[in-house]
Symmetry: C2
Subunit: 453 residues, 2 copies
Amino acid sequence: MIKPRTPAGVLELLPREQIVFQRMLDGIRATFESFGFLPVETPVFELSDVLLTKTGGETERQVYFAQSTGALEKQEAGMPEMALRFDLTVPLARYVAEHEHDLAFPFRRYQMQRVYRGERAQRGRFREFYQCDIDVIGKDALSPRYDAEIPAIIHAVFEKLAIGEFTIQFNHRKLLRGFFEGLGIEGERQDLVLRELDKLDKRGEDAVRATLMEEGFELSADTADRLLAFSRVRSTGHADALAKLDALGAGTPQFEEGRQALRDTLGQLQAMGIPESRYAINLSIARGLDYYTGIVYETMLDAHPQIGSICSGGRYEDLASHYTKSKLPGVGISIGLSRLFWQLREAGALAMTAGGVDVLVALLDDDGFADALALSQRLRTAGWKVETQMEARKIAKQFQYADKAGIRVVVLRGENERGNDQVTLKDLRNGEQQTVALEQLEPALHAILGSGK
Amino acid sequence: MIKPRTPAGVLELLPREQIVFQRMLDGIRATFESFGFLPVETPVFELSDVLLTKTGGETERQVYFAQSTGALEKQEAGMPEMALRFDLTVPLARYVAEHEHDLAFPFRRYQMQRVYRGERAQRGRFREFYQCDIDVIGKDALSPRYDAEIPAIIHAVFEKLAIGEFTIQFNHRKLLRGFFEGLGIEGERQDLVLRELDKLDKRGEDAVRATLMEEGFELSADTADRLLAFSRVRSTGHADALAKLDALGAGTPQFEEGRQALRDTLGQLQAMGIPESRYAINLSIARGLDYYTGIVYETMLDAHPQIGSICSGGRYEDLASHYTKSKLPGVGISIGLSRLFWQLREAGALAMTAGGVDVLVALLDDDGFADALALSQRLRTAGWKVETQMEARKIAKQFQYADKAGIRVVVLRGENERGNDQVTLKDLRNGEQQTVALEQLEPALHAILGSGK
């Protein structure tokens, strides 16, 4: 006998949780589709030389390789032939480069699949987790207006998920780099400062300020203070965002370009009818990756700031330079759904009451079996999720099973009901039982279950 | 520059194909749920000692192992710690055994995920493919009535997928083994004969007959002929199925048990209103696996017999004996969706016209940008999938893009339309263009697109 267990670092759910997770996946997908994004799925494994174009780095240390039994047996030195995807961005780059001539640009794709990283085992850190990504990829160029569409999509997603109030925050790399320029911080030092400011949430202002004045940075106390003051800028409401941008004073051409881009984004969000409480500028957002070149986004749950950003992304210059000579600029976001689900569950912020099955058609006596089957089919045709009790058992046992399985309503027809063209419904949530004429079954069920089929 | 490409043996789709595939997945899932099945997803990798409880065999030769970079570096002799699932049945066994006390039995689960097998590279053979499985698992016992529910579910699935006429065929292991008994074939010889009969489709009657009379079998010509005559029994319609079962003559107790089970199944299908053209008995169905102990199913597309069975399964005695002492009998089926999709596509039997995006809101001049954004949001709220043209370009270019992207309708408001509270719609399928009052937009769109949101 072998102990049944999963590897460390995976999130396996019980059915009642999986139903909630699936509903979140469905909601995200429906929203992505409503904005005209097209589905892509890629294989879980890619050829190692294709996936790992960039050598070294933390990501590569975390890659999982896949090997068939045969390959394992005759394994030679070096890297196995295939590796599991560690994000959805590299597969997207490979996909767009490979299928470039079959795609219409700007190419709007969504992808919702699991990715794999050999993270150190730790509570809430997963080695297998869902990412839900969208990207808009242009050929040669992509209008900055797409940058401003993204927060509208984030807004629609989290309205749909209904997991509480949230704020979409954004900043602009050109505003940041322009500000650095203005302070005389140039070249590689900009990247160092960017990465340091990205740690503000984790390390706190004092620690970051001290580091900025140390070796490698050597900024003056005054410069460090200005950087910190800049990164403290956060807006409350639409007019305040514009006012705070105005109040930053004049800057370098790059700075002004970033500022104008943020103003345009704000205007576009207003034109799309996004409530002003849902978005804000936050000049502390840096996003560690060098990758981003324009707007950068983070999304916070107002009631759960400790969770950190639940949806992040930004604008990049060139998606697939490793695979094609075509220039493919883009903008995109990613939702790490497994982690979000886990954290909301930990915080008690997910209602797990969603029943997967609407109705159990009970069976009181074997003479009623054909009737129960026909009744079940009738309710399925009407759109409900229906399980049939296959063996006549004590009705108390059947109620008990339905309750444990999370089924909301039990429908039954004993000899009496069958003789009188009637049917009995029991609502397990409040225990109420009613007997109605058979043709009244659907309206009666509808009254209990609502339209939430 | 690295050539962007996927590993051999994977099925990667273009967006217009992925939309069709996703619609099939959605249809299967909705049907499984309508019969009260609950969702389960398991990790792509399992611990190798858990996954590979049965030693040896063809399956194990095809297993993929997963290793992190760290594990690869310090790899010792022997099996890597983790392996990719090669079906959904072993993960289900592990899941049910692991979570036994949190589940309500009979446990009805569906699972639709990809599985991995190191198959030899060959057209239409995939190393990564979707399986869509349902199983009903009982604790200690499971009524045979669940066996008869399964064909009703298969029926509902393929009605929903609308990929053509199909026939669900079934046989019963007890009928088969009882018939062997009657011919004096006992013990292990039954398994050999079962496996040989399973090859009838591939090898043909003459070759199988010859083998049955060879060493290892040593059946008489008469016995071989009777086996072949038995395996030729196929019914057409409900009454014919019953008559053909009656015509088999008396048999051993096991034979009679199998015959009665098939009669019960036929009766139950009739009670569920399944059209009799959709099901038949086919006594040649053996299903190679020793695993099955009762009813066995196969499903054929009437117009594409060369595809073989598109949905197969059966009843088994004990799901998880490797992981738990609890006896867990069950019945289930599996649809190999990637292979089915590929074969239907090869046969030209899939309409790829399903557009992912309903509407492109065009942009004629920058003054109309805010209006186009608001219009797009309005149509999304009404339930359509809408993309917004972000930059004013020649309208011909916009039509061209919409056409290439598979978008059905272009909606536009130039200066004239904006001045007159009007809007213009162009149906790209027939080129028809109309200008209507703005408040008539939704009804006009509905007339073109129908309710297929």
